[in-house]
């Protein structure tokens, strides 16, 4: 329904798309910017220039062909395992939460957490690299022991939206969780 402009913790703009399917079911899609052509070009140029420099001194053509292979393989791995296009959080009251992230290559990975295992959805703070960030996470409980948190599942791990975006998702999620309890 609503689509707003937010930024991630590094200042790149991302978009949050909230869809209300019914009173009990909402979907949040965080879309990161597409793989920029310039970045790809710069990386490729660097590797090839380096390879050419090595070739210039060694005069071994294997260097050039391996550079080409390396670039291709690197790009494949990047779009298949690293670069996430959008991340989706689908929350369905009384049923559970589905998290999916779709990679630039089109590969999708999906996990589902059923309601009985879900303790709460909260915003937490953590030390990440050389900074301290807010992130949204799901607290998982063991249905046998409802009071203890057994593990934590971070949400929007690759897009890392900033606090204002997280707060919006958090509020909507809490609305649904409040009804199912």
């Amino acid at each position: 329904m609503a689509e707003e402009e937010f930024t991630d913790i590094n200042g790149n703009s991302i978009s949050l798309d909230c869809q209300t399917h019914s009173a009990f079911c909402r979907e949040f899609i965080v879309t990161s910017p597409k793989l920029s052509l310039r970045k790809v070009m710069v990386y490729t140029c660097f590797i090839w220039l380096f390879a050419y420099a090595v070739f210039f001194f060694t005069e071994n053509t294997a260097v050039l062909s391996s550079a080409i292979l390396l670039t291709l393989a690197g790009m494949m791995i990047h779009i298949h395992f690293v670069k996430v296009d959008h991340e989706t959080l689908l929350i369905i009251g009384s049923l559970g939460v589905q998290l999916s992230s779709s990679y630039a290559s089109g590969r999708e990975s999906t996990t589902f957490i059923e309601m009985s295992k879900l303790k709460d959805i909260v915003i937490n703070e953590a030390v990440y690299m050389h900074s301290i960030i807010y992130y949204l996470c799901i607290l998982i409980k063991d249905p046998a022991e409802p009071e203890t948190v057994t593990s934590i599942v971070p949400l929007f791990q690759s897009s890392k939206p900033r606090l204002n975006c997280l707060v919006q998702v958090y509020r909507s999620c809490q609305e649904i969780l409040a009804q199912t309890r």
Binding site: I9, N10, A23, E125, H130, S131, I132, E175, Q179
Partner: protein
């Protein structure tokens, strides 16, 4: 405080004007009462590590929070304990993942901690960085970075140093560099101040003395725990050279020889334990000298109350906390006259001796003689005297004055800092550290380019004036006079404030506007005035309340109709409640009728609280139920499978049950637990009503369309068949008349 200090200061080595209570501070103190600081305490030493510095930081922070300041603590990660933790009263602790080098102190490279500390300072909007302990490398790093970032700095020194050996010379040089451009330094005693001023070559003007404190409620006397057939001397200290354990090993055999009823109780652990064990072995004193080993802080009091005399043999001490704890437990204190100890306790509570075996023995014997003749004060008297001497509130008050003073000072720009460094710290060290300072500044610029300040999210406060921990208290802080006038319905002040140019749409952090307040208070004239001045009638607060919602809560029909005139939305897009539900719940019939006349959907079901009719039945407001039913509310629609009839029966509203039955409620429908309304009540009147209805003496006064009226009896017949005949349940939830009708038509 000045008087009290003079009371037990033996040698007033500094003129009074150098204290924190200089006339300058007093003059400004009035208008600075309200200034709230955002303080970051930095030290390598914090819980779970235990000790004097740790508890000092914790207690001081708690008292500052109590005074309304915002305090966060930054320390390094302790094993598994890393990240961000909250302690009592929203005290936030950053356990930063920095590498520990030696003795719980981090490595100091001057640079590697900058990114994380900058992030903490920026996101918490810190104004004052307060570093603790000269042993803590992280504290010095933080001072260095804070000065680079242009923040005010305060440093508390907790220990005394020598001047002679190489390690002290090096530490002193580092301290000189670190403190030469720090705004203010706090020492725990006058001796410590003297020491620090000399070591770091400081201007005494910027050094204040604020002693430590004990929590007197933790250390209370208990004379019943003493064994009065003997005289017990308690020693609690780390068993190291600095604490004078060699003296102790000389005292024990001498006194034990003279007094056969003397016992020693020694708590603590350390490398000098072996000496004490040797003495014990040599003189066969196993039954009279007990070595307790390392003690937890909580067990200290239990040991202290068993003794008559507390002995401290320290060779150097900045401010001896142990003797205050001993005195607080009602023990008479015998101590060496070293460091800051003479300042700590008044003369009648402590016997001071020279740090030699002979002098200490003489002192102890004098005290023992006094105990034998009964000429000593009772433990309760001693405790009463000590209790008021050193409290953390007092420490916090004095620290606050330091902060107020520091805030007025400007932070040196880079060029002035470089000049200060080279003029204060000698040529070699000065130029080295000037270079380091420049590099640090460039590194900061690089970090600011890499991740600008505006990209770092401002942290949500857990303490201080904008704390979100106690929401109810804090949401009142950012209210304007307009909010207050509107809530209390004071029309004239409101008009005056508006004419003074107060913005009518001024919202608090929670998004509450003055119009919300006027509606909560139910003040028609105030709301009218605000609306005429252009207040937004559709403003939504953080709790998703609109003015209409608040007006329905207060139940003034004139106000509701006024708001309806200005606002467009009847029901904001949220799912927890609605104006109609609130009015029905609170029995404001006039409001309900008004809303219904505006075309609000009467059967609107909110998942968590049901339909308005259900709410009205739940709160037993008969008038509301009646008007809702007359306006065409479906008598079967409640919350999920729970019908209004169920809830009316459960709460015992006989009149509501009667009304519902008159309007065609089905007394045989079952709720989610499979129960009929009849099974939910104990009230005889309701039972009778429901039973008569079951026998079929039900009068239908349906006001719906004729088609529905015709169908309804058949519908119900069908429902019974469906339920009884094992067919899939047709009524899944709420009002499924249409589904049933469809079913009927297809059959």
């Amino acid at each position: 405080m000045g008087n009290r200090r003079r009371g037990h200061t033996h040698a007033p080595k500094t003129p009074p004007s150098l204290d924190t209570h200089s006339p300058n501070t007093l003059r400004h103190s009035d208008h600075e009462q309200g200034v709230k600081h955002r303080i970051c305490m930095v030290s390598d030493f914090f819980y779970p590590n235990m000790g004097g510095v740790e508890s000092h930081i914790y207690q001081l922070s708690q008292c500052l929070i109590e005074k309304g300041h915002k305090v966060v603590i930054a320390t390094h990660a302790y094993g598994d304990r890393r990240g961000i933790r909250y302690l009592t009263n929203g005290l936030k602790v950053y356990y930063l993942p920095l590498q520990v080098m030696y003795n719980q102190s981090t490595a100091t490279t001057c640079f590697h901690s900058l990114p994380l500390l900058r992030c903490v300072f920026v996101r918490e909007r810190i104004t004052i960085v307060h570093a603790h302990s000269s042993f803590s490398a992280m504290a010095h790093d933080a001072l260095f970075h804070a000065k680079t970032m242009g923040l005010n700095t305060v440093f508390t020194d907790h220990s005394l140093f020598g001047f002679a050996d190489l390690s002290s010379v090096l530490t002193n040089k580092l301290l000189t560099v670190s403190l030469c451009d720090t705004n203010h330094i706090v020492c725990v005693s006058y001796t410590s101040k003297e020491n620090t001023v000399l070591r770091a070559a400081l201007d005494p003007e910027i050094v204040s003395v604020i002693p430590n404190a004990v929590d007197p409620t933790d250390f209370t006397p208990d004379p019943s725990r003493r064994d009065n057939s003997k005289i017990t001397i308690v020693v609690i200290s780390r068993l190291v050279y600095r604490k004078g354990i060699d003296l102790l090993s000389g005292i024990i055999p001498e006194l034990c020889g003279k007094h056969p009823d003397l016992c020693f109780l020694i708590g603590g652990e350390g490398p000098k334990r072996i000496i004490l064990e040797e003495v014990r072995e040599k003189y066969q004193l196993h039954d009279r000298v007990r070595l307790l080993g390392a003690l937890d802080h909580k067990d200290v009091r239990d040991v202290l109350v068993q003794g008559h005399v507390f002995l401290n043999t320290s060779l150097t001490e900045a401010f001896c906390m142990a003797i205050v704890e001993g005195a607080s437990c009602g023990l008479h204190v015998v101590s060496t006259r070293v460091g800051g100890i003479p300042e700590v306790l008044p003369d009648e509570l402590v016997t001071l001796c020279e740090p030699s075996v002979q002098s200490l023995c003489d002192g102890l014997e004098a005290v023992i003689a006094r105990i034998r003749t009964g000429k000593v004060a009772s433990p309760a008297t001693i405790h009463r005297k000590v209790r008021t001497l050193y409290t953390w509130r007092n420490v916090a008050e004095r620290t606050e004055k330091v902060y107020n003073r520091v805030c007025r000072e400007s932070v040196l720009p880079l060029s002035a800092r470089l000049h200060r460094l080279s003029s204060h710290c000698g040529t070699v060290a000065g130029s080295i550290f000037s270079f380091v300072a420049v590099i640090n500044f460039l590194f900061l610029l690089f970090l600011q380019w890499l991740r600008p300040d505006h990209l770092i999210d401002v942290a949500i406060d857990a303490s201080g004036p904008h704390s979100r921990l106690g929401q109810h208290v804090s949401s009142w802080d950012d209210r304007t006079p307009l909010h207050d006038a509107a809530l209390q319905g004071r029309l004239l002040p409101l008009r005056r404030l508006l004419s003074q140019g107060y913005n009518v749409g001024m919202a608090t952090l929670d998004g509450i506007t003055p119009l919300h307040e006027a509606c909560v208070g139910g003040h028609f004239t105030c709301a009218k005035l605000l609306l005429e001045h252009g207040a937004d009638a559709n403003a939504v607060s953080f709790d998703e309340a609109t003015p209409l919602f608040s007006a329905c809560c207060s139940g003034n029909p004139a106000l509701v109709s006024l708001i309806l005139m200005y606002s467009s939305a009847h029901h904001p897009a949220h799912l927890l409640s609605s104006p109609l539900h609130e009015a029905a719940k609170r029995g404001h019939t006039a409001c309900v009728e008004l809303l219904l006349s505006q075309g609000v959907n009467v059967d609107m079901e909110v998942p968590s609280i049901g339909t308005p009719l259900y709410c009205a039945c739940e709160s037993k407001s008969t008038d509301c139920v009646q008007s809702l039913l007359i306006s065409g509310a479906d008598a079967q629609c409640g919350r999920g499978l729970d019908t209004p009839l169920h809830v009316a029966a459960r709460v015992g509203g006989a009149k509501e049950v009667e009304l519902l039955l008159e309007h065609g409620a089905d007394q045989s429908s079952r709720n989610s637990e499979g129960k009929k309304p009849l099974e939910l009540t104990t009230d005889q009147t309701i039972k009778h009503l429901l039973q008569t209805a079951e026998d079929g003496v039900c009068v239908y006064t349906v006001t719906g369309n004729p088609w529905e009226r015709k169908l309804r009896p058949r519908c119900e017949h069908l429902q019974r068949r469906v339920r009884g005949g094992g067919l899939p349940r047709a009524r899944s939830s709420g009002c499924n008349e249409h589904t049933t009708t469809k079913l009927l038509l297809t059959m």
